[in-house]
Each structure stands twice: as structure tokens, then as C-alpha cells.
């Protein structure tokens, strides 16, 4: 099977053709937005990090922003810096330049302030957009796709219907030679013994147990029962009683294929197959991890109705909850009918939708522009 996408340097293929405006620190978010407002086809990535953090967290910020710059859905990148931040605009620019795509920077404190930065940034992004507009979509095999999968605002229908249907689509893409990325380490707690045996090597299996223990210990260190935070109040109202129940339903969305590698937050894995990224499940941080890992399309399975997408990645919403599907037509793309047949059918319908969306069809979240507030996952304190 195939889709039509935008060819990028080094053999990558984009499903969208945006100019990325990436803020290197929270203090540059406003100017990033002002530049993005002035150019059609600009997509802005904002976050609340990049300064007054310990080096491991700053390394995560640098790595994540570099990987986001590599995402094939971006034709070119403008980095927007304040100047005095601890994240490194130069390091990020060097890293993105290795992708072979154009990358430039603007620095507020060196350029005389907001007005100059917005004018210069807008000039750069407009020129990048003019060049990018000349690119035409071409036909590519679906093996060029990397799908990110996520479940959120889950209820019990997630584990029964929408996650299994997402798993069918994942398996199909991997059978066809493509890649999938999943994560949400917190939502593996109680199901890690199943995923351990899915590791492509014993080392991958051990790594899965290690990241789950690390995440669980972070929660334990808070000295309280995690329940209420995970599963969330909404999950509990939706019928999920424990993290174990949530996890056992959640892992199904990644299908049944061997897990090739476990990657750290912000990393971009090489090669094809199924990858697991170590990150919590909360949407703003997790969707960023999928985008950093190179996903050009995402599937987001939901029970109660999670509305958010991502600034430059199409996010397809799928639910098995009939009430949610009926009540939230602005937000949900696909419905899974009850029953085993329903899951298989929905999995096939979802796969067709993935190819159409990859080829340019807008998702519900894209149509209304929902998803402007992603974030980056860091571990240490704000100092």
C-alpha cells in the first residue's frame, strides 16, 4: 500500500509541509507565536523549559528540540531564542542542520528586541515557506511511515475496543515494513511481564522492566497511593479501578509485534519496526516524544474524549465509547463497533484513514487547530 508525501533529505518522507518555529526556551514563546501568526504553513512548538534546570534536563530539552527539528513533517526550521537561556540554540541548530534541511535562528537579546526579532523571523520563515511550497507530494510505499500511538482520557472501552483496533493498525504497518512508536511507561505498570517477552532481545526485555521500575519508584517517592493521578479521576469515573487494569488495556494499542528497542525521551530511533519510548502518559509531554521519535502520523485512542492534536503532526482520534462519539463530533475521527468483528473492521478502517491522512486529509484536531500547547518531559526541579 502507499501514500503521497513530501520527499525530504536523507530519504525521509513528510505527511505535512510545515515550516517549524521552535522556541528554545519558555521566555521566547511569545515571539515564536507572533512570527507564526504572520505566515501560513508555519507550525510553532512552545514549551515551558530551557532554563533554570539541571544539566540532565537541559540535555533532554536540547535533544528533544533537535529531534523535533528532524521530524519529516517540517520542511525547514526557525529556532527562536531569548539569548541568556541555558538550553543551547547553537547546539540545536547544528543538530538539525545534519538532517539536511534549512535551519536558521533569531535571538531577541542580540537583535534589539521583539519588533526586530518578529520582523526578521517573519522574513526568514516567509522565504522558507516560498521554497517549501514548490515541493509536490509524491507516491511512497507505506513502509516509509512511522506511526505514533497513544491512548488518553481512557475508560474501559479503550481496552476493549479502541486500543485493540489501534493494535491492528500497528501490526498492519509493521507487516508492511513500516514503524510504530509507543510509550507511556506509567501505563505499563502491571503489564510489564507481558511486554518483557515481546522484547526483540533479552536486553530489550530487561530494559522494559528497568524503565517501568524507574517510573514506579518516582511515583512511590511521593509517599502516596498513585491512584487518582494514575488512573486519573476521569479514568476511575470511566470504570478503570487500578493502574494494572489501565495498563493491561493500554498495551494492546501497540499490537503484537516484537519490540525492537527502548529509547529515551527525545530520542529518534533508527530503522524500522516497533519502538518503545520511555515517557509518562500525559498528553503534552507524550505527543512531543512521539513527534521527536519521528512519527509523521499519530493515532490517539480515547474513551472519554481527548481533543488535542499536535502542532505539525496529524492526530487521528478513535473511540469505542458510543456516547463519546455521539457527544463530541468535533473531536473524534473513527468509531469502533462492539464485538470482535468490530475491532478487526475498525482496525482496517483505521489503517485506510492513516494512509488518507498521511496523504493530506485533515484530522478533526487539525481542522479546528486543537493542539497548540505541547510540552517537554523533564525530571529534575525548576531551580
Amino acid at each position: 500500500m502507499s501514500f503521497s508525501g513530501y520527499p525530504r533529505p536523507k530519504g525521509y518522507v513528510g505527511t505535512r509541509n510545515y515550516i517549524g518555529i521552535i522556541s528554545t526556551v519558555s521566555c521566547a514563546n511569545d515571539v515564536s507565536c507572533w512570527i507564526a501568526e504572520k505566515v501560513k504553513d508555519a507550525a510553532v512548538f512552545l514549551h515551558s523549559h530551557g532554563c533554570c534546570q539541571t544539566q540532565p534536563d537541559l540535555d533532554t530539552v536540547n535533544l528533544t528540540l533537535t529531534s523535533l527539528g528532524w521530524n519529516p513533517n517540517l520542511a525547514a526550521v526557525l529556532l527562536v531564542s531569548l539569548g541568556c537561556e541555558s538550553s543551547s540554540v547553537d547546539l540545536i541548530a547544528e543538530g538539525i542542520a545534519k538532517s539536511g534541511k534549512p535551519v536558521e535562528k533569531v535571538v531577541l537579546q542580540k537583535m534589539g528586541g521583539k519588533t526586530n526579532v518578529v520582523n526578521e523571523g517573519t522574513r526568514i520563515v516567509r522565504a522558507m515557506a516560498e521554497t517549501a511550497a514548490k515541493l509536490k507530494r509524491e507516491e511512497f510505499p507505506d513502509s516509509e511511515l512511522r506511526l505514533g500511538v497513544k491512548c488518553g482520557a481512557s475508560d474501559t472501552t479503550s481496552g476493549l475496543l479502541s486500543n485493540p483496533a489501534t493494535g491492528v493498525a500497528c501490526d498492519t504497518l509493521i507487516n508492511n515494513g513500516g514503524s510504530c512508536v509507543f510509550g507511556e511507561t506509567t501505563e505499563i505498570i502491571g503489564a510489564e511481564h507481558i511486554l518483557e517477552h515481546r522484547g526483540a532481545t533479552p536486553e530489550v526485555g530487561r530494559k522494559i522492566l528497568e524503565i517501568v521500575a524507574r517510573m514506579e519508584n518516582r511515583a512511590i517517592a511521593m509517599g502516596v497511593d498513585m491512584r487518582g493521578g494514575q488512573p486519573s479521576k476521569g479514568n476511575i469515573a470511566g470504570g478503570l479501578s487500578t493502574i494494572e487494569e489501565k495498563s493491561l488495556g493500554a498495551i494492546v494499542k501497540a499490537g503484537t509485534k516484537p519490540i525492537k528497542a527502548v529509547i529515551e525521551y527525545g530520542e529518534k530511533p533508527e530503522g524500522k519496526g516497533l519502538f518503545l519510548v520511555d515517557t509518562p502518559g500525559r498528553e503534552p509531554e507524550f505527543l512531543t516524544a512521539l513527534a521527536a521519535a519521528g512519527a509523521q502520523v499519530m493515532v490517539f485512542s480515547t474513551g472519554l474524549g481527548a481533543p488535542q492534536g499536535f502542532p505539525f503532526i496529524p492526530v487521528i482520534k478513535i473511540t469505542g465509547n458510543p456516547n463519546t462519539y455521539k457527544n463530541l463530533p468535533e473531536h473524534l475521527d473513527i468509531f469502533v463497533e462492539l464485538g470482535e468483528q468490530g475491532v478487526t473492521q475498525a482496525g482496517k478502517a483505521l489503517y485506510r484513514e492513516i494512509l488518507e491522512v498521511a496523504s493530506g486529509k485533515k484530522t478533526k484536531a487539525e481542522a479546528i487547530g486543537y493542539g497548540r500547547f505541547p510540552n517537554i518531559f523533564t525530571i529534575g526541579p525548576v531551580l
Binding site: L160, G190, M226
Partner: protein
């Protein structure tokens, strides 16, 4: 007639409601191809769980053929099963020593 509840695995001791179910209803379930009836002892909201058997306190509660938690009270067949009578065994920073 559509199924009113589903049992995910033959090892399970709970079922998941596929509709808002009422106390006193007899719910037909299919387990390993066999039909089984359970009378509900409480209203069960859509997506929530009820017990298929008697579950002693401090016993495993099983769904998807896997342990999803531990009972904190005696649970009878047909009882509502949720946060009031099952606890998680994981990420319990509130318990001495954390993990069990």
C-alpha cells in the same frame, strides 16, 4: 439481543458492563463458549465491573486473564467491583516499603 456484559478471559473473576445495568437483573455471559447467568446485587454503570464469583478479602481480582488488583473486602457474585473494594498493588508510596 446484544451482549450486556463481557468477560475478557476465561480466568477472569469480573465482567465489564456494556450498558447501564440494574440491580436484580440476570446477566447472561459467555465464558469459553459456555453461557453463565449472574444476578446483579447493585446497579453497574456502563464500562464498570461486577464479580462473577465470591472473592475473599486480600485475593487477586482478575481481568484480561491477569491480576488487576487485590480485594479489600469480601466480594459476592454480582457485586459492583471498583475502587471501594479493590486496591492497586503497584506504585503504593503510601504503604511501608512501597512495592509489595
Amino acid at each position: 439481543m446484544p451482549l450486556k456484559a463481557v468477560v475478557m478471559n476465561a480466568k477472569d473473576n469480573v465482567a465489564t458492563a456494556l450498558d447501564n445495568l440494574k440491580k436484580g437483573e440476570n446477566i447472561e455471559l459467555v465464558i469459553n463458549g459456555e453461557k453463565e447467568l449472574v444476578e446483579l446485587k447493585a446497579d453497574i454503570p456502563f464500562g464498570h465491573k461486577f464479580s462473577l464469583t465470591e472473592i475473599e478479602p486480600n485475593s487477586p481480582v482478575i481481568k484480561y486473564g491477569e491480576v488487576i488488583g487485590v480485594s479489600t473486602a469480601l466480594i459476592s457474585a454480582g457485586d459492583y467491583v471498583h475502587v471501594h473494594n479493590i486496591a492497586s498493588a503497584r506504585a503504593r508510596g503510601d504503604l511501608q516499603g512501597g512495592k509489595e
